[in-house]
Amino acid sequence: MLDDFMTRATLAGIGVSLAAAPLGCFVVWRRMAYFGEATAHAAMLGVAISLTFEFSILAGAILVSLIMASSVTILEGRSLFLDTLLGVAGHSSIAAGLVIVSFISGVRIDLMAYLIGDILAVSNMDLLMIWIGVGIIFSLVIWRWSPLLLVTMSEDLASASGYNPKKENFVITLSLAIVVAVGIKVVGVLLIIALLIIPAASARSVASSPESMGIIAAIIGILSSILGLNSAYLFDTPTGPSIVCVASLFFFILVTVNVFFKNKI
């Protein structure tokens, strides 16, 4: 069954959507969209370094994303504002990554595969890595769910209740780095943030609890990757952007329905 490239692609898409859903909710609640995007851009530098020294792309992406996210967190508030810092760090990382990749001779590297993903080329090994990543993110987020929610609402309340906000924030940063790394194959570093934010944002208009928002986001993400993948196959369009287009369609429909209903009531 796993021999079929469409089956592998579908399973990869489902995996990344599942991991992105609960995390995407936190990204939306905590207004970390720009942070997530910078983390994803940093991953491109990780990819370039991995290709240069010929080691695991996954490890390189996770490592560089984590280093970028941590240094930005440490520098935050010292001199520059967070979004400025993120803009500098994220964009210089992706630029440096692209420059480094251009130096690599011998192998012809398809840059687009890293920028917007190449889900149809997912191997069994990639699939395994994706699902291990999903497992890690799920365990982390479910284990820390309540403290993460509390820290999201108020770091001071969390401190007073005996939690360490820094530790909980690191759980988010680490999960983000992992989801970016496993998402490179599926939607690429440019679009992974879309897979985090759009399903969560769509779910917001119909959810009434944090948990239901996460579950609905997961359903929307999974439907988007299945529908996007199949339409890409049908119309011969790039897969990553097709998946994101379907997700945006969900967002548009749900927001419209929500506005329509609210006006009626």
Binding site: S146, A160, S208, P210
Partner: protein, 240 residues
């Protein structure tokens, strides 16, 4: 003794926000911190709950001290859907067992299914206080907890606080701008402006030159307001 703070300094970057703070708090005490805006009152609370690093001195807290903290305000992002019930559950592992208790603390169960984002100022204050009381705290930290309440609301809030103290012997440390009420319901008042200006029984603080310098030299309106409410203080004493 629940808390002992000795020669505490807190800095934000190069700016010293609190200098040489000393404070002890015992069970059943109601201690009020007054001081102008930016005088480091909230910073002191954040240091006590461990939310910010301290640059000098020591904060001793009784091991496993149960702290109930009511922040100045709680702004939850509009994108986060959460009901009051779920929010209160986050504070408490045995939530269902004491659902009755929470209803009692909230005053009703009407609020339980409302989204936290839709609460009014007064409702939010009730929810935050209920949340702080869920774990039977040994100390209650109230940071301007009466913000957004009207005059009768403020009065009944402080009656509630006194009742809590009387029934549970919980210590209460509060930051307040309601100088008139504070004076009548506190055991001790600490006047802070980056450091401790003066402290002691409410009467002695109110007449101390440091206190007068701090609040008397403030904007005229503040002083007038204080004067005005000061008249009412005697009324409320007679009531009791």
């Amino acid at each position: 003794m629940l808390i002992k703070i000795s020669s505490l300094d807190v800095k934000y970057g190069y700016k010293t926000v609190l200098k040489n703070m000393n404070l002890t708090l015992d069970s059943g005490e109601i201690v009020t911190i007054v001081g102008p805006n930016g005088s480091g009152k909230t910073t002191l609370f954040k240091a006590i709950i461990g939310a910010i690093p301290i640059s000098k001195g020591k904060i001793y807290t009784k091991p496993n001290l149960r702290i109930g903290y009511v922040p100045q305000q709680l702004k939850i992002d509009q994108t986060l859907p959460i009901t009051v019930e779920r929010f209160l559950k986050l504070a408490h592992k045995n939530f269902n067992k004491s659902l009755d208790k929470i209803e009692a603390l909230l005053g009703s169960k009407d609020l339980l299914n409302i989204q936290v984002n839709n609460l009014s100022g007064g409702q939010m204050q009730r929810v935050l206080l209920a949340r702080a009381l869920i774990n039977n705290p040994e100390i209650l930290l109230l940071d301007e907890a009466t913000r957004g309440l009207d005059q009768p609301g403020v009065a009944s809030f402080y009656r509630k606080i006194e009742n809590i103290r009387n029934s549970t012997n919980c210590a209460i440390l509060m930051i307040s701008h309601d100088l008139h009420v504070v004076m009548s319901s506190s055991d001790r008042v600490i006047c802070v402006n980056g450091h401790i200006c003066c402290e002691g029984a409410p009467e002695s603080v109110a007449t101390s030159p440091e206190y007068k310098a701090l609040f008397g030299s403030d904007v005229d309106g503040t002083f007038a307001l204080y004067r005005h409410h000061h008249d009412h203080k005697h009324d409320s004493k007679i009531e009791r």
